[in-house]
């Protein structure tokens, strides 16, 4: 685990020493503020619409971070060094994941001022805010893990970003497609779609199925990274 944390620390430092990491975090915070104004146009002290917009924004963030993960490292030639060093593949996979999760935590932390402002002005229900943040964290980790898997499988950073976006859109489309179907296929496709798993976080409930879904997405992403790196080693 120490190696994994060392990789994560190195990645996190590299992200925040560059303008990319600072710019991403600042832009996400500003976007959250603009979205908050749109949400409050309903004249209600509630943040469900704000959180649902942030879930979409997290998909974009995952694509951006995927761009820099393995693909960028391969382009600059440092991936070869990493894969030939005496670290195990799972340590590399978890190290990379922890690195982007660090960015995720920073980005989410930058939005905390929004609910504080709403609480200062009105009387929002605290429950949906807590579950909303739990949702942001789980959704973020799941999306980032998928992004890492896509990034590990291509040397081109732009393809990595586009591929991550394509995977997330495909999952979203599964839910849309399910609307016109019936039977078990409908149930399966609906379950596969993230949209059917964020409703609970927005209304203030934490369902085991929703938590299990996003943790599974994370596990699948990490396992895919290990498998892809294994074939390339």
């Amino acid at each position: 685990m120490r190696q994994a944390l060392a990789i994560a620390g190195r990645d996190l430092r590299a992200t925040y020493v560059s303008a990319f990491g600072i710019g991403c975090t600042a832009a996400f915070a500003a976007l959250a503020g603009v979205l908050l104004v749109f949400d409050l146009r309903g004249n209600q002290a509630r943040l469900d619409l704000w959180f649902s917009s942030l879930f979409v924004a997290l998909g974009l963030l995952a694509a951006l971070l995927a761009l820099r993960a393995f693909a960028e490292e391969e382009r600059s030639g440092t991936l070869e060094l990493l894969l030939t060093s005496p670290v195990r593949l799972w340590q590399v996979a978890f190290g990379k994941l922890f690195g982007v999760v660090g960015v995720l935590v920073a980005v989410i932390a930058a939005t905390v001022v929004c609910p504080l402002l709403v609480a200062n002005m009105g009387n929002p229900d605290a429950g949906p805010i807590v579950t909303g943040y739990v949702g942001l964290f789980l959704v973020g980790i799941g999306f980032l893990a998928l992004g890492l898997a896509v990034s590990a499988s291509t040397p081109n950073p732009l393809v990595a970003a586009a591929g991550t976006a394509a995977v997330l859109v495909a999952l979203w489309l599964a839910g849309v497609l399910a609307g016109g179907l019936g039977g078990r296929l409908k149930v399966v496709l609906q379950y596969l779609s993230p949209t059917s798993h964020v409703t609970g976080f927005l209304r203030g409930t934490l369902a085991v199925a929703d938590v299990a879904y996003f943790l599974s997405m994370t596990v699948v992403g990490v396992v895919a990274v290990i498998v892809v790196l294994g074939t390339r080693r």
Binding site: R46, D48, D125, G127, T205, G230
Partner: protein
């Protein structure tokens, strides 16, 4: 390689199995205030009875918070039973669909199941679960509507007609049957779940009154919608149940609409009766008053459902100037009442010693006006809800659920220009500025350190 494949297979099996178990158990923690989305155990039992596609369409203003809460609540029903699907539509955005379902106002909910349709008065747990029970039960309950005395017609689409009442009855799984007691044997069919007398303009004959009284006494369910514009005297039907129709015209200058003191807005609904549930205000134009007897026989209770304000009175001579004077009855005036009479009667059973007794329950709902039910007024304030509640109470369909969650709560926060500016300055200006400033500072510190280290290394080499 084989070991890696095996490992991947194990991980996939664990992921699929874990999700299957989580999906099947549907466990959740509700962190919302007052556990708004924890549905009652009765609701879970109700949804278990659905065995086929049940569609719920809620027609709501899409821009409002109510539409979002409706989606959240209806999603819970879908989570409990995947055969239940839902959509929340704006009648303005989907006028074709709204017209197809005969929806003309916001806050209408339509449930369809196996070719049947039932409407719910609102998107809250009690109403949706009750509607599911009704639609799953199937079969339409016959409701008999007395005709032959110049009553407003159920087929009349004009503002004075009752076509909306007919639609409400049909959409709530009631089979509407006209009941003409002036022809043939004057008796009410035994299968009438309720008899409605909706604003007769002419008096009922003695045989008709006898028939309706006989029906009421035999555990009957009667809705007497009297009219101040009529010569018909409903008292022979009401007085056995503790209510007296005063006649006249209620005048309420304090609570009335459009400058017309007889267009009464009722805000005092003091009863805990299910008929008043979910009703905040009523509009009762041209209503007469009702008086509740103080001398009720044992087993009879009368609820004052709707009462006008202190400043109102029942004008005994409405053709003259509307002014309180001698002969008028001072307010508050009851304009709607619900009588419930439970009594034990012998059934004639003699084989069981001391046995054979049965409980007979009569319910009579009375209003002093019929205008509130017309097409022009049914959708005003809580009139429609009041009528649906009254039907449910009469046919004894209310309270399938004892306690239910209150899904929609108002958390008003007007977004003033000052608040908007404050939010934008802090979230778009200060916070990103602080992040960029901190980041640049960190970069400067990092570079200086790096340069210092490089210099130290160079010195060491020298």
């Amino acid at each position: 390689m084989r070991g890696r494949l095996l490992g991947v297979a194990v991980v996939i099996a664990v992921v699929v199995g874990g999700n299957f178990l989580a999906y099947a158990h549907n466990a959740q923690a509700d962190l919302s205030a007052a556990h708004r989305f924890t549905l009652a155990p009765q609701t879970k039992a109700v949804t278990d009875q659905v065995h086929g596609p049940l569609k719920i369409i809620a027609f709501l203003n899409n821009a409002g918070a109510a539409a979002r809460d409706a989606r959240f609540l209806l999603a819970r029903y879908h989570e409990l039973n995947r055969d239940i699907t839902y959509s929340v539509l704006d009648p303005d955005a989907d006028p074709g669909l709204a017209r197809r379902y005969g929806i003309s106002a916001y806050s209408s909910v339509v449930l369809t199941y196996k070719g049947r349709r039932v409407d719910a008065p609102s998107v809250d747990e009690l109403d949706i679960s009750t509607a599911i029970v009704r639609i799953v039960r199937g079969g339409a309950k016959p409701v008999c509507v007395v005709v032959g005395h110049g009553e407003p017609s159920l087929d009349d689409d004009t503002g004075q007609g009752l076509s909306k009442v007919r639609d409400v009855l049909q959409h709530n799984a009631y089979d509407v049957r006209p009941l003409d007691l002036t022809v043939g044997q004057a008796s009410v069919p035994g299968d009438c779940a309720a008899v409605l007398l909706l604003g007769p303009r002419e008096g009922l004959g003695p045989r008709e009154v006898d028939a309706l009284n006989a029906y009421a006494e035999n555990a009957g369910r009667l809705m007497v919608v009297a009219s101040s514009l009529s010569t018909a005297n409903p008292n022979p039907l009401l007085e056995p149940w503790g209510v007296h129709f005063l006649g006249g015209l209620v005048v309420d200058p304090k609570r009335s609409e459009s400058g017309d003191p007889t267009n009464v807005v009722v805000e005092d609904l003091p009863s805990a009766s299910p008929v008043d549930q979910g009703v905040a205000r009523l509009q009762f134009p041209a209503t007469a008053g009702l008086a509740v007897s103080n001398n009720l026989h044992e087993g009879l209770t009368v609820e004052r459902l709707a009462v006008t304000s202190d400043g109102s009175w029942d004008e005994s001579n409405p053709d003259n100037e509307l002014q309180f004077d001698a002969g008028d009855i001072p307010g508050p005036i009851v304009v709607a009442s619900a009588s419930d009479d439970s009594r034990v009667e012998a059934s004639g059973e003699t084989r069981v010693p001391g046995g054979g007794a049965r409980v007979v329950r009569t319910r009579v709902l009375a209003t002093g006006s019929d205008t509130w039910l017309t097409n022009d007024f049914l959708d005003r304030l809580g009139n429609r809800r009041f009528f649906v509640n009254a039907l449910s109470w009469l046919t004894q369909e209310e309270q399938l659920l004892a306690t239910t969650s209150q899904v929609s709560t108002d958390r008003s926060l007007p977004l003033t220009a000052e608040r908007q500016a404050r939010i934008l300055v802090i979230t778009v200006g200060l916070v990103p500025g602080a992040i960029i400033g901190t980041g640049l500072l960190a970069q400067v510190v990092f570079r200086r350190r790096r340069r210092r280290r490089q210099r130290q290394r160079q010195r060491q080499r020298r």
